[in-house]
C-alpha cells in the first residue's frame, strides 16, 4: 500500500500543480515522452516478473499481453520521437514512478503462488488507473505536438482496455 501511495502521490503532485502553474510548470513534450515511455517500461518489467514467477495461466497470459502491447506502444513512441527529433527528458515524475516500481517489484518478489498473483493483478489495476488518470488530466492536455498527443490518446485507449482486462482477471482470482 505504501508503494502504491508514493506513485499516486507523484501523480497527484503533477495533477495538483497543473491548475496553479499553468504554462510555467506543465510538463514539456520531451518530459511527457519520458514519463509515458517510463510508465511503459515499468509495466513491461512487472509483466516479465509475473511471466517468470506466476503459475496461474490467466495471470501469465495477461502479463504476456501487457509485455507485448507496451513494447509495441513504446517502439512506436521511440519511432515518433526520432522522427520529431525530440530527446526524452528525465524528470521528477519519471524518477518517482521508477522508484515506486522498484519497491513494488521487491515487494512482489517476496510473495508466492496465489498471494503473488493477487498482488500483481491488484497493482496492475491500480497502476493502469493511475497512469490513465495522469494521461487524461495532465499529459494529453499538456502535449503540444499533435502527433505526440495522438499517440498518447491511442495509448490511453489501449491502457483503459488493460485496466478492464486487469479488473476482469482480478475478479477471477477472488
Amino acid at each position: 500500500m505504501y508503494i502504491r501511495s508514493i506513485a499516486t502521490l507523484a501523480a497527484l503532485l503533477l495533477v495538483s500543480a497543473a491548475p496553479y502553474a499553468q504554462a510555467a510548470e506543465k510538463p514539456t513534450d520531451p518530459q511527457i515522452a519520458h514519463i509515458a515511455y517510463t510508465a511503459g517500461v515499468i509495466d513491461i518489467e512487472a509483466a516479465k516478473q509475473a511471466i517468470k514467477d506466476s503459475k496461474n495461466k490467466e495471470v501469465v497470459d495477461f502479463a504476456k499481453d501487457m509485455e507485448r502491447d507496451h513494447e509495441a506502444v513504446n517502439k512506436q513512441a521511440l519511432d515518433l520521437l526520432k522522427k520529431l527529433k525530440v530527446k526524452p527528458e528525465d524528470n521528477a515524475t519519471s524518477q518517482a514512478l521508477t522508484k515506486a516500481a522498484k519497491e513494488e517489484r521487491a515487494k512482489l518478489a517476496k510473495l508466492k503462488g496465489a498471494d503473488f498473483d493477487k498482488a500483481y493483478i491488484e497493482n496492475e489495476v491500480a497502476y493502469h488507473k493511475q497512469v490513465n488518470g495522469a494521461l487524461e488530466t495532465l499529459l494529453i492536455p499538456s502535449a503540444s505536438n499533435a502527433e505526440l498527443k495522438s499517440l498518447l490518446e491511442t495509448g490511453l485507449k489501449i491502457f483503459q482496455g488493460h485496466q478492464q482486462h486487469a479488473e476482469h482477471v482480478a475478479g477471477m482470482l477472488k
Binding site: 517502439k75 490518446e153 489501449i158 482496455g161
Partner: protein
Amino acid sequence: MVALALAFSASPALAATIEVTIDKLVFSPANIEAKVGDTIEWTNNDVIAHTATVKGGWEVAIPPKSKGRIIVKTAGAVDYFCRFHPNMKGRLEVSP
C-alpha cells in the same frame, strides 16, 4: 461493399465478404449484418494485436497490421469484443 452488392445482384447463393476495420481500438463499423456462409474479415491497422471474441463461442486472432477472418456458420446475433482490450466491442447479426 462491392462484393456484397455483387453477391446480391448476381446470385444470392454467392457468399459475401464483410469488412471491418480496426483503428485505434475501434471496430468500424461496430454493428454488422451477415448471412450464413458469409466471411467477416477484420483488418487491424493498429500496432498491437487484437481478437474478435464471442464469450463462450468463437475467437479470431487479428495480428497487428494484419487481417483475421471467419466464415459465419450459424444464424443469430452475437456481441463480440477484443479479449486483450475489453473496451473494444462489436455486434454481429447473422440471418439464415
